[in-house]
Amino acid sequence: MLITLTDINKVFNQGKHNEFQAIRDISLQIEAGKVTCIKGASGSGKTTLLSIIGCLSRPTSGRVTLDKEVLSGLPERFLTDIRRHTFGFVFQKFNLIQGLSVLENIMLPAYPLSLNHKALKTSAQQLIVHFGLDRVMHNPVEWLSGGESQRVAICRALINKPQILIADEPTANLDTRLSQEFMELIDELRKTGKTILITSHDPVVFDSPVVDRIVEMRDGQILES
């Protein structure tokens, strides 16, 4: 699935004294089946750009298209549907729901799809086994290490079988060894044909041979691609 951004701008607190423009006139194409890394310092607008691509927020102006479908003007209900079926998210702080078990966290995105419980549980368990989490499957997520939490976040992102995986600063809370392990997982997913979009300012990520393309950002603009 080809993602195309055209003249994207994002302004926070528009018209208020604390107005802030996070993204300025960004136009970009993200190719299907490739690993793209958006690189840049903190505050450069990477996460905002990722949110717009993943339909987690709307651009103030500009157009986002997925293949030929224009996403930027769609009502919330349609955006949710696209988000649910097309994108899988791995957040910087993993954003797992505390108090729920590993299994429950992974199954969570599929609840609104009203799937058969047994089938859903089976596919969640397959992911759990694949990512080596079977030992902690029924543990609450707050008991997990950083690496385990990230793998749970990846499983959760994959449960609805999305075409595009979006990871925001996925290695920010991991040591070098775990960061390398993460890139190995990304490589594995790339081989299944998924489009992967990662933001990072970690050399382990953007220097990795797994990454096909690097887009550099600064002050809300793309420097080079």
């Binding site: 905002t48 949110s51 987690l56 927020s57 709307r58 919330e76 209900r77 949710t80 988000r83 649910r84 079926h85 998210f89 957040f91 954003n95 729901i97 505390q98 108090g99 729920l100 429950e104 969570l108 995105p109 609840y111 609104p112 009203s114 799937l115 058969n116 419980h117 959760r156 609805n160």
Partner: protein, 376 residues
């Protein structure tokens, strides 16, 4: 099928969500249940009392005739019986003797009557259960009344009045007519009042009108008026209790509003995560709706059940001094369970609806915001 499965998933998540905040939700449930319990107790109790009183009073006379002298209740001469008997529609008439006796040792008034249908000698007495409890006496024991001139009269207790009618008979003392006249000094040919029954119950008011026309110094009191008086007494008492509970109710409303409207950062973040992973605003709203319903319905059912047990099985021990009886000798009785559908619906509406609305509005506000904005 999909709809049911989806609701099942949402309820499942809601339950685990409630369990994750055990302390907070249990505290809320407890306070909520207590409020429902207090309100439901008052409602159930006063309604059951009204119903009970109306059933018992169905057997009371249709018209009571009193004589007034200078606006005060006076003895009524026996020849009034004949005058009243000439009126069409009156089928039976009887003079009654009754009054109040204060017993300083138990600090209570007895209602003393001379019954018509009970054969009593001048030394026998039948007493209400409240009197028996207050004095600690039973059948065969002796009971004393003191007359206005200072003489004391002893009676042997022949029987105790049936506990089923205790609501109105708790403080009752029944003695023979002869003994009553001796103790009170009321001469033969005089009564306290006269009771009448009429042929056609729909003509009671008409008969009462004719009575006042014929005998201007009398006051007819209708059974329906007595029922209305009881009704207003219980309504008034219910109102007093509600006023007393108002403070507690308001405290709960503020507490619930604060709990429901002030979403914590953690709750907001959770909504953001759910939306980011593909939940619709509607799913989040439905989930929170179930959360509100589970808490409020559980509190409602627990509170109502506790109130039911409190009123009908422990005789409303908490509200006894305020709501029960009209003498110091509080009646003890088991009320027949009566549940008024309208009252139940009112209580349901005023306890569940505000809470669910208070819960839904802030959630709705959060759930229609972009997930990115909520998580930030």
């Amino acid at each position: 099928m999909d709809f049911i499965r989806k609701q099942a998933y949402l309820i499942d998540f809601t339950l685990s969500s409630l369990l994750r905040r055990k302390g907070k939700n249990l505290g809320l449930l407890l306070v909520y249940t207590l409020i429902v319990f207090l309100l439901a107790s008052v409602m159930l109790f006063t309604h059951a009392l009204r119903k009970e009183a109306s059933i018992i009073l169905q057997q009371s006379p249709e018209i009571i005739v009193q004589r007034l002298v200078a606006g005060r209740h006076a003895l009524i001469p026996a020849d009034y019986l004949e005058k009243i008997g000439q009126l069409r529609g009156v089928v039976s008439k009887r003079g009654r003797l009754w009054g109040y006796f204060y017993n300083p040792s138990v600090k209570a008034n007895y209602t003393v009557m001379a019954p018509e249908h009970l054969e009593l000698t001048t030394t026998e007495v039948v007493i209400g259960a409240g009197v028996a409890r207050a004095l600690g006496v039973g059948v065969g024991d002796y009971f004393t009344l003191r007359s206005d001139d200072g003489n004391t009269y002893s009676f042997q207790i022949k029987e105790l009045l049936d506990e089923d009618s205790e609501l109105v008979s708790s403080d009752l003392v029944l003695i023979s007519e002869k003994a009553y006249r001796v103790i009170t000094g009321i001469p033969e040919g005089q009564f306290t009042d006269i009771i009448l029954s009429v042929r056609n119950p729909r003509e009671v008011r008409k008969v009462a009108e004719k009575l006042t026309e014929k005998l201007p110094d009398i006051r007819p009191i209708l059974r329906e008026e007595i029922l209305r008086t009881y009704d207003s007494i219980f309504s008034w008492r219910q109102g007093i209790v509600f006023v007393l509970l108002f403070g507690a109710l308001m405290a709960f409303v503020i507490f619930a509003w604060d709990k429901a409207s002030g979403l914590s950062a953690e709750e907001k973040r959770e909504i953001g995560i759910l939306k980011a992973v593909g939940w619709e605003s509607g799913d989040v709203l439905r989930m929170k709706f179930w959360e509100g319903m589970i808490i409020s319905l559980s509190a409602f059912m627990l509170g109502y059940l506790a109130a039911y047990l409190h009123v009908f099985y422990s005789s409303a021990v908490l509200f006894e001094p305020v709501l029960k009886g009209w003498a110091t000798l509080y009646p003890q009785f088991r009320l027949t369970p009566f549940i008024d559908g309208l009252q139940l619906a009112t209580l349901f509406f005023f306890t569940i609806f505000p809470y669910v609305v208070a819960t839904i509005i802030p959630i709705w506000r959060a759930s229609v915001t972009d997930p990115d904005a909520i998580m930030r």
